[in-house]
C-alpha cells in the first residue's frame, strides 16, 4: 500500500474537520446570545450649543378687510376682480339703491317748495310791515288829534287797537318766516342723510390693497355684514407660527427667524418675531407667534405653509452629548457609559438641546467619559460590546 496518498488524505481530512469546527465556533460567537453587541462611542466634550425653536405656520395678512354692505340688499355691480390692485377710496362695488334716488328727488321738490313757502312768508312780512307802519302813523296822528280833543277817545282807541293788531300780525309773519327757514334746514338735513345713504351703497376701498376674493356677483342678495369683496395689504404678510408648548422655551418678540416657504424650499427668507400671542392653544398644546418678513415685499400666497426656525442665543459652555445616546431605563434618563469595556447605566440630568441633536448634560458625567452613542440592540448592564467606528455603511455620525 502506498503511504504518501494515505497521509495526504489524512491531512486533508483533518484540515476539513478543523475548518468545519472553526466555522461553527465563528458562527456561535458572532451570532446569537454569545456575540458581542456592536456599538459606537463618543467621549463627552465641553462645548457651546445654539438652541433653536422650530415651528410651522401659515402665511397670513396682518391687515385684511372684508367689504360689504351695512344693510341687506342686492348687489348692483362689482367693478373689480380678484388680483386687482386698488387704492384707498376706489369704487369697488355698488349695491342696488332701490328707491333712494326717487326719495332724493322728492326731497329736492320738497326743498323747492319750502323755498317758495319762505318767499311767501317774506312777502307776508313785507305786507304786515307796511300795514304796521300805516297803523303806527294813523295811531300817532290820532293821538295828536285826541290831545287837542278833535276826536273822541273811542276813535283813538280804535286806532291804537289797529296798531297793536298790525304789530301782532308782523310778529306772526316773522315767526312764519323763521318757521319756513327751519323747514328748509330740516329738509336739507334729511336730504344730506339720504345722500349719505346713497353714498353708502357704493362700496369703496378702505385702504390700498389687493382683492383676494369676490364673494358675490351682481344680482345676488347679501345680508348686512356679509362680504362682497375681500382685500388684503400685500405689504403686511407675516407667518402665523405654531410651536409645541414643550419646545417653546425662549420664544420672545425680536428673535431672528429663518423662514422656508413650501413653494420655495431652496431659498430661505429672513424674518423676525413680531408678536407672541398671550393666548396659547390648549387643545393642540401649541403657542402662537407672528413672524414678520424682513424683506418689504415677499412673493408668498396667503395660506401657504411655512417652516420657521428661530435662533436663540448661544449657551454657556457645558458638557455636550448627541441625543442618540440618551436612554430611558426604568423611568430614569441616562446614558450607557463604558467602564473598562463594559456598559454601565449612568443617570444624567439634561439641559437644553439644539435642533442638530446635541444636548447639554448638567449632572452625571465627567468630561472625557466614554459614552455609547449607537448600538445594534438595546444594551444591558455589563453586556459584551465591541466598539466600531460606524454601524451603518455610508453614514457619518
Amino acid at each position: 500500500m502506498n503511504q504518501r496518498p494515505h497521509l495526504l488524505r489524512r491531512i486533508g481530512f483533518s484540515a476539513l474537520a478543523v475548518v468545519l469546527v472553526a466555522a461553527l465556533a465563528f458562527v456561535a460567537l458572532r451570532t446569537g446570545p454569545l456575540a458581542p453587541i456592536k456599538v459606537t462611542v463618543t467621549s463627552v466634550q465641553e462645548g457651546k450649543l445654539s438652541p433653536a425653536i422650530f415651528g410651522i405656520g401659515t402665511v397670513e395678512a396682518r391687515r385684511s378687510w372684508m367689504v360689504g354692505p351695512t344693510v341687506a340688499g342686492r348687489v348692483l355691480s362689482v367693478r373689480v376682480d380678484v388680483g386687482d390692485t386698488v387704492i384707498a377710496g376706489q369704487l369697488l362695488a355698488e349695491m342696488d339703491p332701490v328707491d333712494l334716488d326717487q326719495r332724493l328727488s322728492a326731497l329736492d321738490a320738497a326743498l323747492a317748495r319750502a323755498g317758495s313757502t319762505q318767499a311767501a312768508a317774506q312777502a307776508q312780512v313785507a305786507d304786515t310791515t307796511a300795514r304796521r307802519e300805516l297803523a303806527a302813523i294813523n295811531a300817532k296822528r290820532n293821538q295828536d288829534l285826541a290831545a287837542q280833543n278833535f276826536i273822541s277817545a273811542g276813535a283813538l282807541e280804535g286806532r291804537l287797537q289797529e296798531k297793536a293788531s298790525a304789530d301782532a300780525a308782523l310778529q306772526a309773519a316773522q315767526a312764519n318766516l323763521s318757521g319756513t327757514a327751519q323747514d328748509i334746514n330740516r329738509l336739507k338735513a334729511e336730504r344730506a342723510a339720504l345722500q349719505q345713504q346713497r353714498g353708502n351703497v357704493r362700496l369703496l376701498a378702505p385702504a390700498d390693497g389687493v382683492i383676494t376674493s369676490r364673494d358675490a356677483e351682481a344680482g345676488s342678495t347679501v345680508v348686512a355684514g356679509q362680504p362682497v369683496l375681500r382685500l388684503i395689504d400685500p405689504a403686511s404678510l407675516w407667518v402665523r407660527m405654531r410651536v409645541d408648548q414643550g419646545r417653546s422655551a425662549g420664544l420672545a418678540p425680536g428673535l431672528k427667524a429663518n423662514i422656508v416657504l413650501r413653494s420655495q424650499p431652496r431659498t430661505p427668507l429672513q424674518g423676525q418675531v413680531a408678536r407672541v400671542e398671550l393666548l396659547a392653544d390648549a387643545v393642540t398644546e401649541e403657542r402662537i407667534a407672528q413672524i414678520a418678513f424682513a424683506a418689504p415685499t415677499v412673493t408668498a400666497s396667503v395660506g401657504e405653509l411655512a417652516e420657521v426656525e428661530l435662533q436663540l442665543t448661544e449657551t454657556a459652555a457645558a458638557l455636550l452629548l448627541p441625543n442618540a445616546s440618551i436612554q430611558r431605563l426604568e423611568g430614569k434618563t441616562g446614558v450607557w457609559r463604558l467602564a473598562e469595556g463594559k456598559p454601565a447605566f449612568a443617570p444624567v440630568r439634561l439641559g437644553v438641546s439644539s435642533l442638530d441633536g446635541r444636548v447639554q448634560v448638567l449632572e452625571g458625567l465627567k468630561s472625557g467619559d466614554s459614552v455609547v452613542v449607537y448600538s445594534q440592540k438595546a444594551l444591558t448592564e455589563g453586556a459584551r460590546v465591541q466598539v466600531v467606528d460606524t454601524l451603518v455603511k455610508g453614514s457619518t455620525p
Partner: protein, 397 residues
C-alpha cells in the same frame, strides 16, 4: 485498535464529505425554517419591547392597537396621567402605509407617531439622531432602505430621515418609520386633495350647511371635517411599586377604556395575531424534519449497501459483529455531525439575506443537533441490521 470507520471514510472521503454537505444544506433549511418561526414570534416581542410600555390603553372593547384598530381622543392621555401608579403616559399612533423614498420607490412601513422624549420613541439608534423638530423629521429602521438625510414622502408631506434604528418592526415584520405625533395624526386621517375637494363641494351643496342667512356656517363645518384629534393608544409606564393589574383595573373601571398588560398584549400578538401563520410555518417545519430524517436514513442505508461486499469480507476474516455495527454507527454519527455543522453555518450565512427577521436560537441549534444525531443513530440501525445479515460467502460469491 484500528478505527474501521475512520479507515473507511478515509478510503472514500470525498464522497463522504459531499454527502455530508448535501445533508447539511437540508439541515440548514430546516434550521432556517425554525428561525423563520422564531423570527415571527420575536417580531411580536420586539414590537412590545420597543414601545417601552407596561400598559396599553386602547378603545373600549377593542384589542388594539396592533391586532385591531383602536381610536381614542388625544386628550385621554391627560386623564390617564392622573391615575394612581402611572409614571408616564404617552400618545402613540400606528399606521401601516406605503412610504415613498427619494428615488420614488414605495416601501411598506409602519408609520409610528411618537411624542419625543416619551415611551414609544426608538430606544436605540444605529446612526443619526433622534427627532428634535416638532414636524417633518423621521427616524427609520434600516430595513426600509432609507439613508440619512433622505427626503421621504408620507401622504403629501416630505420628511427628512435624521436617524436610523434597527429591529424596529411591526408584528407583520414591516419596518417602522417614526415621525412626530402631530404629523402622524395628520398623515393618518388626511385624505388626498381630490377627496377633500369632493367633500367640500358635497358639503357646500347641502342646504343645511350652506344657508343664505348664515354666512360662515359652511366654513365652520368644513374646518370641522378636516381636523383630527385621535390617537390609537396610550402607552403607560408604571411607577415603581405598582403592579400592572393594580393600575390597569381603575382605568378600565372608571375611564371606560380597555387596558392591556404586557402579558395580555403578548397573548394577543403571539397567540392570536400570528397564530395561523405560525402554525403554517410549524406544519412545514414538521414535514421538513420528517423528510430530512427519511433522507438521512436512506443515505446511510444506501451507503451501507454500497459496502456490502467489504462487510462480507470483514465477516469472512472474522470481524466481530459489534465492530461492524460500531463502524456503521460512527459513520452515521459523523455524517450527522458534518451535516449539522454545515447546516448551522449555512443557515447563519443566509439568514440575514431574508427579507423578514430570521432568529437562530442556540437552544434550537442544540435541539437540532440532538435530533440529527438521534435520527442518524436510528437510521443506522436499519443499515446495521442489513449488514449483520450479510452472508460472509457473498465476499467470494
Amino acid at each position: 485498535m484500528i478505527s474501521l470507520a475512520g479507515r473507511d471514510i478515509a478510503h472514500s472521503w470525498s464522497k463522504f464529505v459531499l454527502t455530508g454537505i448535501g445533508l447539511g444544506l437540508l439541515i440548514g433549511v430546516t434550521l432556517t425554517m425554525a428561525g423563520v418561526y422564531r423570527g415571527m414570534v420575536d417580531d411580536a416581542h420586539a414590537l412590545l419591547n420597543n414601545s417601552g410600555a407596561d400598559l396599553w390603553v386602547v378603545q373600549k372593547d377593542t384589542q388594539g392597537p396592533y391586532a385591531e384598530s383602536s381610536s381614542i381622543k388625544d386628550d385621554v392621555v391627560r386623564s390617564v396621567r392622573g391615575m394612581p401608579g402611572v409614571a408616564q403616559a404617552a400618545n402613540v399612533t400606528y399606521f401601516t402605509m406605503q412610504v415613498q423614498g427619494a428615488s420614488g420607490d414605495d416601501t411598506r412601513a409602519m408609520v409610528v407617531g411618537i411624542e419625543s422624549g416619551q415611551s414609544g420613541e426608538p430606544g436605540y439608534l444605529v446612526a443619526g439622531r433622534q427627532i428634535t423638530r416638532g414636524h417633518y423629521e423621521a427616524v427609520a429602521d434600516v430595513k426600509t432602505g432609507f439613508a440619512l438625510g433622505e427626503r421621504i414622502r408620507i401622504r403629501r408631506h416630505y420628511y427628512t430621515v435624521v436617524g436610523l434604528t434597527q429591529r424596529m418592526v411591526s408584528s407583520g415584520g414591516d419596518p417602522m418609520v417614526f415621525i412626530a405625533l402631530k404629523d402622524a395624526q395628520e398623515a393618518q386621517f388626511l385624505k388626498d386633495n381630490d377627496a377633500i375637494q369632493n367633500d367640500r363641494t358635497r358639503t357646500a351643496a347641502n342646504p343645511a350647511f350652506n344657508r343664505p342667512g348664515a354666512p360662515g356656517l359652511l366654513d365652520a363645518v368644513q374646518a370641522l371635517q378636516s381636523s383630527s384629534r385621535s390617537v390609537n393608544a396610550v402607552l403607560v409606564q408604571l411607577a415603581p411599586g405598582f403592579g400592572a393589574e393594580q393600575v390597569a383595573e381603575p382605568i378600565r373601571r372608571w375611564k371606560h377604556l380597555q387596558v392591556f398588560t404586557r402579558a395580555g398584549m403578548e397573548d394577543i400578538l403571539v397567540a392570536k395575531l400570528i397564530a395561523t401563520s405560525a402554525k403554517q410555518i410549524g406544519m412545514f417545519l414538521v414535514i421538513l424534519a420528517i423528510v430530512s430524517a427519511a433522507i438521512v436514513a436512506f443515505i446511510i442505508y444506501t451507503m451501507t449497501l454500497g459496502k456490502i461486499r467489504e462487510i462480507a469480507v470483514l465477516k469472512l476474516i472474522g470481524t466481530r459483529n459489534i465492530t461492524i455495527a460500531s463502524m456503521i454507527l460512527q459513520q452515521a454519527l459523523g455524517l450527522g455531525l458534518i451535516g449539522f455543522i454545515v447546516g448551522k453555518v449555512a443557515a447563519t450565512v443566509w439568514a440575514p439575506v431574508f427579507p423578514k427577521f430570521v432568529l437562530l436560537l442556540t437552544q434550537d441549534a442544540f435541539t437540532g443537533l440532538i435530533v440529527t444525531l438521534l435520527i442518524c443513530a436510528l437510521a443506522s440501525t436499519l443499515a446495521i441490521r442489513t449488514a449483520l445479515k450479510v452472508d460472509p460467502a457473498a465476499a467470494i460469491g
